[in-house]
């Protein structure tokens, strides 16, 4: 049985992933912003897992609250085996271009708060000599594009940070897993017209995450075909790339 801390537990990807862990009898500590949604999700997971579930709602942008949050989770679970960082927002790129404040707020939520949590969790796991850290990043972090480079920059920072962390902890029995989903049909992407083969359902991503944990993977694109798409995107020379409408 695993003790799993989920941060951003009301996100669609986190919720569907939690259900897959629940069936295997996991115990959870759920953290999210909206108390009402969190309660509905906790109730559902209690029924699926047959275990009582602890939760707390919190604004994760307040980095100074992170150490105490993790201490409570450690205590309630009796040791965190798996930490899943899944919170994030999709900022309005056009609005960010007109506002430094909005740009920095998006980076605070998508990069800094995740880095703060990852730093603290990594130290706990390192000391213990085991632990699994799963972080939801994005294909958007692989290359800056005019349509969403504020979001992309935050995810790109997160990717590099996690690479370094993985490098540091590789000999310490700690798995650092970076998840790079493509387009996923969730409330976060509600504003998009969801058509075509590139869109995935949250449960497809969840299935991939569970498999990546079991196989001890480092970085996974989900669904897997994004690996090839991003391979091409990353290798387009900047001189050409800057003229593309992406």
């Amino acid at each position: 049985m695993r003790n799993i801390l989920i941060i951003g537990a009301t996100s669609a990807i986190a919720e569907t992933t939690a259900r897959r862990f629940a069936v295997a009898g996991a115990r959870f500590y759920l953290v999210g912003r909206n108390a009402e949604k969190l309660a509905a999700i906790a109730r559902d997971l209690e029924i699926r897992s047959g275990q009582p579930i602890a939760r707390e709602s919190m604004d994760l942008d307040q980095l100074n609250l992170h150490p105490a949050l993790l201490e409570r989770a450690e205590q309630v679970l009796g040791g965190i085996d798996v930490a899943f960082i899944a919170h994030g927002i999709l900022p309005d790129q056009a609005a960010c271009q007109q506002s430094v404040e909005k740009t920095l707020a998006a980076i605070q939520t998508n990069a800094l708060s995740a880095i703060s949590l990852a730093t603290l969790l990594a130290n706990t796991f390192e000391q213990r000599g085991r632990g699994i850290l799963i972080v939801i990043s994005s294909v958007a972090g692989d290359r800056g594009r005019q349509s969403n480079y504020v979001y992309g920059a935050a995810k790109g920072m997160l990717n590099l940070f996690l690479q370094g962390l993985r490098n540091r902890l590789s000999e310490k029995g700690v798995q650092v897993l970076t998840i790079k989903p493509g387009f996923v049909d969730t409330p976060m992407t509600a504003a998009f017209e969801k058509k075509g083969l590139l869109w995935a359902q949250p449960d497809q991503i969840a299935k991939g995450i569970v498999a990546a944990v079991e196989r001890g993977r480092d970085e996974v694109y989900l669904p897997g075909f994004w690996r090839w798409i991003m391979l091409v995107i990353r290798h387009i020379p900047e001189g050409i790339f800057k003229r593309l409408k992406l």
């Binding site: 669609a12 949604k37 509905a40 109730r43 559902d44 029924i47 049909d185 409330p187």
Partner: protein, 431 residues
């Protein structure tokens, strides 16, 4: 969006995905709405040409499950397959299940679906303890068979028109294990089928028959009688290897279901040897087609029509013979024809389809006018016999037929939410 039969294909201008029950006012749209669950209704009850669809699959959380008494409450977008995955290992089964487990709980209520045990258990609505109806004016009504009764009766079988069903509470039935004791028998004629009913219905809770629709003359009305019951404690085998579902990858330009394949399939299905009695897992017994995902694509891009009618007991024999004769004469056979007797028990739903009599379900590849004309000829028989056609499977019945089949439609229409409408509803109330 497309319904299950891939006909008709219409354009909804707005799609709104629901993840948490919110007030319906927040969407800021002025088009009329209809909830869309998992898209398993065959025709246009789940469509809203030019309007908006509320996609309810995001409402998929369990709220309460009590393994001591089998009461389950869940959000309306939960699939019956998800319920079974949770409850079967704990010894509980749906009190009524349709022939696919891939329908939402809300859809099962809105279409008041039925199953192989109708003759003893009634329809899905008979086992609904409560649900919440969210109206477009933000009123939330808890409806039970004793509270807000008019809303309960309008919403069970109400085709999603009375407002959004946010959650549903149902009573499950106890089972000892996931196995079914099943019995198969061939019958040579409708008369033999009716005689078998009298014998088997007293002994088996689940009964359904397949009928060879391509047969003519002396073979007319032949078929296979299938009965089943949940296996008693102790009578079970080790769990079967999980069968991988196959997927029909795409819809071919023309239907693979044609006269030749229908005749061949029906002949084989009738003559293939099958065990008279056996112990089988519940999935192939209740959901034989669920292992062939997207099977609707076999009918090609033009889709198909389902025709399911019920004929009152008195005229059933004559009317069914006439329907089968008209189908055989048309040369448009049905791949899967299903026959079953409905019992007396009703859920009270104003627009519920199940009523005492014999029900026959058929499907036909869409060959345009030719198929529509045949279905209208079948409606003639159904109307004359005082029967009814199932809205959840319909895409073509006339307004006159509908209003004769569902005389309560005017009473019902008073409960329709002013912001809700569907393609089906506009079609059947137009003249």
């Amino acid at each position: 969006m497309k319904p299950w039969a891939n006909y008709p294909q219409q354009n909804e201008q707005v799609k709104i995905a629901l993840f948490f029950p919110a007030s319906l006012k927040n969407f800021g749209i002025h088009k009329k709405l209809i909830p869309f669950g998992n898209g398993r209704s065959y025709g246009d009850v789940c469509l809203n040409d030019g309007g908006a669809l509320l996609l309810t699959r995001g409402l998929d959380r369990f709220i309460v499950f009590n393994p001591a008494n089998g009461v389950l409450r869940a959000e309306a977008g939960v699939l019956l397959s998800e319920i079974l995955a949770l409850t079967v290992p704990q010894g509980w089964f749906l009190s009524v299940t349709p022939g696919t487990q891939f329908v939402t709980l809300g859809g099962a209520v809105a279409n008041d679906v039925h199953g192989k045990n109708h003759h003893v258990a009634g329809s899905f609505g008979s086992h609904v303890r409560a649900f919440e109806l969210l109206r477009s004016d933000s009123e939330r009504l808890t409806c039970t068979p004793k509270q807000n009764i008019e809303w309960f009766q309008a919403t069970v079988g109400g085709l999603g028109l009375t407002g959004l069903i946010t959650w549903v509470e149902i009573q499950l039935q106890r089972i000892a294990n996931p196995w079914i004791v099943a019995e198969n028998r061939r019958f040579a004629s409708l008369d033999e089928f009716l005689a078998l009913n009298d014998d088997y219905e007293a002994r088996y809770p689940y009964i359904v028959s397949w009928i060879d629709c391509a047969a003519r003359g002396r073979a007319l009305g032949r078929g296979i009688y299938m009965a089943g019951m949940h296996a008693p404690p102790g009578l079970m085998k080790p769990p079967p290897a999980e069968r991988r579902a196959l997927t029909v990858p795409f819809a071919p330009p023309i239907s693979l279901i044609n006269n030749l394949s229908v005749r061949g399939f029906n002949w084989l299905y009738y003559h293939l040897p099958r065990p008279a009695r056996g112990l089988i897992p519940y999935q192939p017994f209740f959901y034989p087609l669920d292992n062939l995902l997207e099977w609707n694509r076999l009918y090609g891009r033009r889709g198909f029509f389902q025709y399911q009618c019920v004929i009152p007991p008195l005229d059933a024999r004559e009317a069914l013979r006439e329907i089968l004769a008209r189908i055989a004469a048309s040369g448009q056979g049905s791949m899967l024809a299903v026959l079953k007797r409905f019992g007396e028990r009703t859920s009270g739903g104003l627009l519920s389809f199940p009523r005492p009599g014999i029900t026959l379900a058929l499907d036909f590849p869409n060959r345009g006018q030719k198929t529509l004309a045949l279905l209208e000829r079948l409606d003639e028989v159904t109307r004359q016999a005082g029967g009814a056609v199932y809205p959840a499977k319909d895409a073509r019945m006339s307004g006159d037929s509908f209003r004769q089949y569902y005389p309560q439609w005017e009473v019902f229409s008073r409960s329709i939410d002013p912001r809700f409408s569907s393609s089906f509803w506009r079609r059947v109330i137009a003249d």
